[in-house]
């Protein structure tokens, strides 16, 4: 590799990645570095934070300041980094288990505060790292190591969840649409406030195998008929939308103040009051 985008952003000594052949995490990571490259951001002003999981390993491969933290706690660490240095762009790389089960509370409160973080969830519908247990996004009736008769827990739609919790930018994309994913990530990175991007992805080794979805290529092709854009979905009935995955922007607004701005404003007010 010489003089290319991978050489520029990825740590060569750590290649190839620890991910299984066909794992969607690499496609999400590729979309992220392409987004950063196109935006021409100052690398000195970017920090990546992750939790634990196959997805969270992504930070190990990046030539940026990175923090690989505890399971579920990436957003808590990211909040600290952002509060101490609001001028930094803080990007959280996480999994569906990491941000929606053990870290679910941090996720909703970061949305409620509207703190300027970009949370990118590599959502593969199971816990890859620990052997394929069900996660809060495992589809109903699908098989995992802990739902051998089919999962009977209704899953979270992470976009609905973050939207209702107050996130001011919410979007979904899929590894089948890497160019659109890159564009959505660019918008999320440009947003001032909490941005959440749900990246629908595949874990061929566990979720795919346990649900007999074929190899990585077959799993990739399965997305073709399942993905429906937000605009298309508005013309479809609930019945037609069953088993479909809606991608695109769900929220993009600036009607709420960002948390570090509120904090600065509060310090100003407190100082003013002290002088009176």
């Amino acid at each position: 590799m010489k003089n290319n985008i991978y050489d520029k952003y990825l740590v060569e000594e750590k290649m190839p990645t620890m991910w299984c052949p066909g794992c969607g995490n690499g496609i999400v990571l590729q979309s992220i570095i392409r987004a950063i490259d196109e935006m021409d951001l100052d690398p000195e002003k970017i920090v990546f934070v992750s939790g634990i999981g196959c997805s969270s390993r992504a930070v190990n491969y990046l030539k940026f300041d990175c923090m690989h933290t505890n399971h579920g706690r990436a957003i808590a660490f990211a909040t600290g980094i952002k509060m101490a240095n609001p001028e930094l762009k803080v990007i959280v790389l996480t999994g569906d288990g990491d941000c929606a089960s053990i870290g679910g509370n941090h996720l909703i409160h970061a949305c409620r505060r509207n703190i300027d973080l970009t949370v990118i969830c590599m959502n593969n519908s199971n816990y890859g790292m620990t052997g394929g247990q069900y996660s809060p996004t495992t589809p109903l009736n699908s098989f995992t190591k802990t739902s051998v008769y089919g999962s009977y827990e209704p899953p979270f739609d992470l976009c609905d969840l973050t939207k209702s919790a107050g996130a001011t930018y919410v979007a979904r994309c899929a590894t089948y649409l890497p160019v659109q994913m890159k564009d959505i990530i660019k918008k999320a990175l440009n947003h001032h406030g909490l941005s959440f991007v749900d990246c629908a992805s595949d874990c061929p080794s566990l979720y795919g195998r346990l649900n007999r979805l074929g190899d990585a290529g077959e799993m990739m092709l399965r997305w073709k008929d399942r993905l429906v854009s937000v605009t298309q979905s508005q013309k479809m009935s609930e019945e037609e939308l069953k088993d479909k995955v809606i991608w695109g922007e769900f929220v993009n607004k600036s009607d709420r103040m960002e948390y570090t701005d509120i904090y600065k404003e509060n310090i100003r007010r407190a100082k003013e009051a002290a002088h009176e």
Binding site: M1, K2, N3, N4, Y6, L10, M15, P16, T17, W19, C20, P21, G22, C23, G24, N25, G26, I27, Q30, S31, R34, T175, Y176, P178, V179, P204, D215, A216, G217, E218, M220, L221
Partner: protein, 67 residues
Amino acid sequence: MKLKVVIDRKMCKGCGICVVLCPKKILKIDEEGKASVTERQECIGCRQCEFHCPDFAILMGDDDGQL
């Protein structure tokens, strides 16, 4: 000059995603379990294989196959 597919064999894990997505059907998994190009002259440089590669193993290059 139109750029065409170049595969970095060190990086490829042979997942086969590029093979199913290539509109010209010119990619295959070879005997060594790596992606290889059957008829490079047919490549239209659409970059589907490149953007979907989970292992950063595909880039577009010039006619000498240089990255």
